[in-house]
């Protein structure tokens, strides 16, 4: 825009003045007429460049960066959403799998438990049977022992009675001759032993 003004401003005095040497002078004059000072122009240009640079550096760039960032984030968010979706699907799949596995395992354990339970039951049954058998046997044994004990007692008692009665009978019934014979035999035996 400044250029156009400058051009316009510069084009006007050309028609008024004549010759090339007078061109620059007329131009300066024109500028002076318009109140344009070259020094000021240069200073303004420098100012302008400075301001432009500063604006570029401190305003435009961060704004652009922020814009870029936002754009990036948006796209990232979209991507993440996409990924989450697939992950969810995968998880669901896996969950189903684990569930299935757990079920089979539970089944297995159940089977195993059932097997060992029945095994245990059998074992227990067997043990109980043997125990009952043993108890029966023990009872029988103790019965037998009891019977034997009684028998022994009876036998001893009978023997005692027999001996006692026979002693009494012998004492009464044994004749003198018989006694003498026994005495002799006894003496003989004692002599032999000694």
């Amino acid at each position: 825009m400044l250029d156009t003004i400058l051009l316009l401003a510069s084009s006007a005095p050309v028609h008024e003045s004549t010759g090339d040497t007078g061109l620059l002078a007329s131009f300066v004059e024109l500028l002076n007429n318009f109140g344009v000072e070259p020094k000021l122009i240069i200073a303004q240009i420098i100012n302008f460049i400075l301001v432009a640079f500063l604006l570029w550096k401190f305003a435009f760039k961060p704004v652009m960066a922020t814009l870029d960032e936002r754009q990036r984030k948006n796209s990232e968010g979209l991507q993440f959403a996409e990924e989450s979706k697939t992950q969810l699907e995968e998880t669901e799949k896996r969950q189903a799998e684990v569930l299935r596995e757990a079920n089979t395992k539970a089944q297995d354990i159940l089977h195993e438990a059932r097997d060992s339970a029945s095994e245990f039951e059998d074992k227990m049954k067997g043990e109980t049977a043997t125990q009952i058998e043993e108890m029966r046997k023990r009872a029988e044994d103790s019965n037998e022992l009891e019977r034997k004990k009684m028998l022994t007692e009876v036998r001893q008692e009978v023997a005692r009675l027999v001996v006692m009665t026979s002693g009494k009978v012998l004492q009464r019934e044994l004749g003198n001759d018989e006694k003498l014979r026994l005495d002799k035999a006894a003496a003989e035996e004692i002599s032999q032993l000694n």
Binding site: S116, F120, S142, V158, A159, I190
Partner: protein, 512 residues
């Protein structure tokens, strides 16, 4: 009835009138269960003599014109002037399989009311111990079922391992546990039909105990189904000193029968302190010279001649064995007293039980430092050796460290680890009474401990964790346990299976 008469008739006809020659004497004095008699010029030392009323006695003191006789029955029935007869027999007791499951007194007469014992064989109660040639070194294990003992102080068949400790420290419990475990193993082994299986028969000699205690013991054994493999010899506190003195010898004679017939037997003397005291009483009444603590001079010979009869015989002599677990009671933990030192010196090691440990709740209260087994490790199965080889040293180091750790607060990681492991091992070894553990379970538990599977369980939860693992293994992993038992060692495949099993268990175990 008629058969009885017939039998009597037969005996009468078979009877030959004969003459009997006996050596007799007359009682001159009776005091404290000891009778002095004159006469009896031909009596032998240790011979059985007959008093009136069917009372028997043993001639223990043969003097110039007097014989000192200890009475085995009620000496109150005897009086001065009674006649004494020699019998020509040394004191002997009935022996054999028929004795199993019975409760007998010091001369082998039944006291359990189950009728007479139909024994065909008798052994003299005093016998010379097997010499050097028929013996063999101990190489077969005798599992007590108590983890602390089987892993650290193992006992072999034919060994003599002393159980020593103060009163109320669980000495008898260890003995009963061992008997119960033998019965358990016997039942399993005999049921498996394994030809090479060797059952262990037990003999429990109760010396000078209260009748109530004996009844409780018998009850515990019967409940555990161990009575049918056990002979119980009883000389209760109220009996004559002579019975207390003789009961261990009678029990040993019964055990010797098993040993001499190629079988394995275990004998428990509970306890020998009382026998020594009874012997002291007899000796003092017989006016034998008294020595230290009024014990007679030959009190050293008493337990040694008893325990020397326990042995492992070599295959040429039947391959039998007699394992002895004598019990000695100490006063205030004094193992250096007269009788304890004496018995310690003639046994192959001792299990020392401490009151302090017992009161801390560590039961069985086995003191690791003072307990040793001099020959038993040769008898351990390889699997136990693999897992328990370092346990004793580790525990000893733990005790030492634990004492130090009380003073310092900053411990390095290694010490910390050692302490943790030690306290967990101590917990693992806790075991309630009358619940012996099978060897394969012991191996599995120790393996789990050695391989850090208990490290993340709180110390106070170890006991419940161990029992939960035991339950898990014995219900679901029978085949694995069977493998450990049959292979007798841990190879890679078994270890892998164990890892799997223990990991599976660990995921289910939740500490309280």
């Amino acid at each position: 009835m008629s058969s009885i008469l017939e039998q009597i008739e037969k005996e009468i006809t078979a009877l030959k009138p004969g003459v009997s020659k006996t050596n007799t004497g007359v009682i001159t004095a009776v005091a404290d269960g000891v009778a002095k008699a004159e006469g009896l010029s031909q009596v032998m030392y240790n011979e059985m003599v007959e008093f009136p009323h069917g009372i028997t006695g043993i001639a223990l003191n043969l003097e110039e014109d007097e014989v000192g006789i200890v009475c085995l029955g009620d000496a109150n029935l005897l009086k001065q002037g009674d006649e004494v007869k020699t019998t020509g027999r040394l004191l002997s007791v009935p022996v054999g399989r028929v004795m199993l499951g019975r409760v007998v007194d010091a001369i082998g007469q039944p006291v359990d009311g189950k009728g007479p014992i139909d024994a065909t064989e008798h052994y003299p109660i005093e016998k010379i111990a097997p010499g050097i040639i028929p013996r063999k070194s101990v190489d077969q294990p005798l599992q007590t079922g108590i983890m602390a003992i089987d892993s650290m102080i193992p006992i072999g068949r034919g060994q003599r391992e002393l159980i020593i400790g103060d009163r109320q420290t669980g000495k008898t419990t260890i003995a009963i546990d061992t008997i119960i475990n033998q019965a358990k193993i016997n039942r399993q082994g005999l049921a498996s039909g394994d030809e090479s299986f060797r059952p262990v028969y037990s003999i429990y000699v109760a010396i000078g105990q209260k009748n109530s205690t004996i009844a409780r013991t018998i009850n515990a054994l019967e409940k555990a189904g161990a009575l049918e493999y056990t002979i119980i010899v009883v000389a209760a506190a109220a009996e004559n000193a002579a019975n207390l003195f003789l009961a261990p010898f009678a029990g040993t004679a019964m055990g010797e029968w098993f040993m001499q017939n190629g079988m394995d037997a275990l004998i428990i003397y509970d306890d020998l302190t009382k026998q020594a005291a009874a012997y002291r009483q007899i000796s003092l009444v017989l006016k034998r010279p008294a020595g230290r603590e009024a014990y007679p001079g030959d009190v050293f010979y008493l337990p040694s001649r008893l325990l020397e009869r326990s042995a492992r015989l070599n295959p040429d002599n039947g391959n039998g064995s007699l394992t002895a677990l004598p019990i000695i009671e100490t006063q205030a933990g004094d193992v250096a007293a007269y009788i304890p030192t004496n018995v310690i010196s003639i046994t192959d090691g001792q299990i020392f039980l401490e009151t302090d440990l017992f009161n801390q709740g560590i039961r069985p209260a086995v003191s690791v430092g003072l307990s040793v087994s001099r020959v038993g490790s040769a008898a351990q199965i390889k699997a136990t050796k693999q897992v328990a080889g370092r346990v004793k040293l580790e525990l000893a180091a733990y005790r030492e460290l634990a004492a130090f750790a009380q003073f310092g607060s900053d411990l390095d990681a290694r010490t910390r680890r050692q302490l943790d492991r030690g306290s967990r091992t101590v917990e693992l070894f806790k075991q309630p009474a009358y619940s012996p553990k099978a060897v394969e379970i012991q191996v599995a538990l120790l393996w789990a401990m050695q391989n850090d599977h208990f490290d993340d369980i709180e110390v106070e939860d170890i006991v419940s964790a161990a029992s939960s693992l035991e339950d898990y293994l014995s219900t679901g992993k029978q085949d694995l346990l069977g493998k450990i038992l049959s292979q007798k060692k841990l190879d890679e495949s078994i270890e892998a299976e164990l890892t799997e099993a223990v990991t599976a268990w660990r995921s289910t175990f939740k500490s309280a």
